[in-house]
């Protein structure tokens, strides 16, 4: 299907999710086909109720689809059990949340270290990586602070470092600038773009922020549970010519 034999970072095949709310069945995703190459940075935009959050949960291995497949690094996670999913999230996915979700009682370094602890990374390597990543996000001097002593932008930087610690297959950012003023939001945008370029990290951003979306390689417009439209962004290395490889979206398969 890839045509080029290239290993994809993310591939979904006719991904569907429905759930019952009382007597009504809600079809949140109605067949999403999405492909992302390694090192790509892609944004997903769409109005509320378009299925963005559901897609995010699926790709984040937080929830399993009703039907269809999710392949991450060629591994099908759509039928995994809870423990396997947890392990998978730990190794392959880095999360960035709108509200940072840092643990305030723990120091910045500890927050960054959290995913590495259950990954079984040796203490020495952990410390080394924590410092590397804090340097990368520009907080090298604040590793002993507590998150609630940092500004919103700084907290999101900590979260970005945390997302990177286990060298995940891709990073999933859910409205990463949603809680930030525009100037700080732009800094975070630039940091994400820099992380994409320097670390060759694969990043999927779900956002309302069209300015941010424009700067990524591709923009997927989600509406009523399907990818309605897809177009190229400003990030140069995702050329529009790749698009045949990336999306084939129609309502139903």
């Amino acid at each position: 299907m890839t045509g080029q034999g290239e290993k994809l970072a993310i591939e979904t095949l006719d991904l569907k999710k429905s759930y019952k709310m009382g007597l009504v069945t809600v079809y949140a995703l109605r067949g999403v086909n999405l492909r992302m190459r390694h090192g790509e940075i892609v944004s997903v935009v769409g109005p509320s109720g378009s299925g963005k959050s559901t897609l995010l949960n699926m790709l984040g291995a937080l929830d399993t689809p009703t039907s269809g497949k999710i392949l991450i690094d060629d591994v099908d996670i759509s039928r995994m059990g809870e423990r396997a999913l947890a392990r998978f999230r730990n190794r392959k996915i880095g999360f960035i949340f709108q509200s940072y979700n840092l643990i305030d009682r723990s120091k910045v370094a500890k927050n960054v270290e959290l995913p590495a602890i259950v990954a079984g990374m040796p203490k020495k390597l952990r410390n080394q990586r924590v410092h590397e990543l804090l340097d990368l996000v520009g907080l090298g001097d604040k590793s002993n602070r507590r998150p609630n002593a940092l500004s919103g932008g700084e907290q999101q930087r900590v979260a970005i470092a945390r997302a990177l610690i286990n060298d995940p297959a891709f990073i999933l950012a859910d409205e990463p600038t949603g809680n930030l003023d525009s100037k700080t939001g732009e800094e975070i945008q630039n940091l994400l773009l820099r992380v994409n370029e320097e670390k060759k990290a694969t990043i999927l951003i779900v956002t309302h922020n069209l300015e941010l979306a424009e700067k990524t390689g591709r923009i997927l417009h989600l509406r009523d549970g399907v990818v309605e439209k897809e177009r190229a962004g400003l990030m140069p290395h995702s050329k529009p010519s790749d698009s045949d490889l990336n999306v084939s979206a129609n309502g139903r398969a």
Binding site: E82, R83, A86, R91, F97, P115, V118
Partner: protein, 415 residues
């Protein structure tokens, strides 16, 4: 989980407890109270048991105590219904099979004066050459028994001669002491308080026996007591010495057959079991209260931890999102409850040991203070400690389970 750094997870649990210091502290306090109560009661119970066996251990194992009434202790009220213990009784008892000696005695109370000091004492009059049968461990610090014909000699119990509240002896060998006692006398139709007073010469001082009763008694001859206390040869207590402890029951049955319920018979064994029964009931009640307070402590842990789980929903959601399994989260929360139990258990044991000594100090144990030393059996302490830890972990199961089964999606959404 195998490669998970367990110590790091425990560190995270400690961090969570430290963040809620006051609440954690109060919960630990609840555990401390339960454990401390349990420990103190154990220690007091052990101490009292020791005390009772010390007290009764001084009585000969083959001694039976015969009193005029069927009441368990002591010759009290003189109602006409009761059998009087007389020389006839002594002869009758002596003829019962299995009886070695029959030792009659008079008891009285009064004030003992030595120089300017005085104290209230119990006076026992008996044939002192037979005293070794009643209290086999008896021995003299100085002097000797008063002979049965001596009406002016007196032997002092150890704590009479050496009271703890005086830095010098109350009385010493060869010295004169006076016994005074008051009674109502009818003089020509008018009742009058009369004080009788008699001088005695200290002929012996006993070594400490460990029995509150013997140590704080004074002993005079049978005839002297009969005359001084005007007993008219009606004995208060008769000690029956059997040929061996194994036939105590047999002799007791024979005596009962003869006298029915008109006479009281007590064996040291019976006294011990009566006291232990009463004590056991009392301590059992206290232990139940302590157990309830331990249970309340466990409920406290449930509440505290459950509240914590609710407050940390987002945190739990995050941990799940970044790959912490339900099992790991369960472990972290159980570590929190276990830590509370461990702290509460250790501090509770310490507080309980201290508390037992403090209670001894506070308890009203009468004028001639009974000296109970708390006694803690290591196995009891270990049991209480393990119980505290186990209860804490059990109490943690429900909140920890709730945390471990939280869905990361809903957990992250929660504001």
């Amino acid at each position: 989980m195998r490669t998970v750094a367990v110590l790091d997870l425990i560190g995270l649990s400690f961090g969570a407890l430290r963040e809620r210091r006051l609440r954690t502290g109060l919960t630990v306090l609840m555990v401390i109270i339960g454990v401390a109560l349990m420990t103190s009661i154990n220690g007091l119970g052990g101490g009292m048991n020791n005390y009772i066996s010390d007290q009764l251990g001084t009585l000969g194992a083959n001694a039976l105590i015969v009193t005029p009434s069927a009441s368990a202790f002591g010759p009290e009220a003189q109602s006409g219904m009761q059998t009087k213990l007389t020389s006839q009784t002594v002869r009758t008892l002596g003829r019962i099979q299995g009886v070695d000696y029959v030792i009659p005695s008079f008891t009285g109370g009064g004030t003992l004066r030595s120089g300017s000091e005085s104290k209230t004492v119990a006076v026992l009059g008996m044939d002192q050459s037979k005293m070794v049968y009643v209290t086999p461990k008896i021995s003299f610090e100085s002097g000797a028994f008063v002979s049965s014909t001596d009406s002016g000699g007196i032997v002092l119990g150890h704590s009479i001669a050496h009271p703890s509240n005086l830095d010098k002896p109350f009385a010493s060998m060869g010295q004169s002491v006076f016994i005074e006692f008051s009674k109502i006398e009818n003089q020509g139709g008018v009742e009058k308080l009369v004080t009788k007073r008699k001088a005695f010469l200290v002929g012996g001082i006993l070594n400490e026996l460990g029995s509150q009763q013997v140590d704080s008694e004074v002993f005079i001859s049978l005839s002297a007591a009969n005359a001084f206390f005007e007993k008219n040869s009606v004995y208060d207590v008769i000690y029956v010495i059997t040929k061996g402890p194994d036939i105590n029951d047999q002799v007791e049955t024979s005596i009962t057959k003869f006298y029915g319920k008109n006479i009281g018979i007590v064996s040291p064994k019976a006294i011990a079991s009566t006291i232990n029964e009463v004590m056991g009931t009392f301590l059992g009640f206290l232990t139940a209260v302590a157990a309830v307070s331990m249970f309340v402590g466990a409920v406290g842990i449930i509440t505290t931890l459950y509240t914590s789980v609710m407050e940390r929903t987002r945190e739990i959601g995050l941990l799940k999102a970044i790959g912490y399994t339900g099992g790991t989260i369960l472990f972290m929360f159980l570590m929190e409850s276990f830590t509370i139990g461990l702290l509460g258990g250790l501090l509770g044991l310490t507080a309980g040991v201290a508390g037992a000594y403090a209670m001894i100090g506070i308890l009203p144990l009468g004028a001639n203070a009974i000296s109970i030393t708390p006694y803690f059996r290591p196995t009891d302490l270990a049991q209480v400690f393990l119980l505290a830890c186990a209860l804490s972990v059990i109490a943690g199961i429900y909140p920890a389970w709730r945390a471990s089964t939280l869905s990361p999606i809903t957990a992250l959404k929660k504001e």
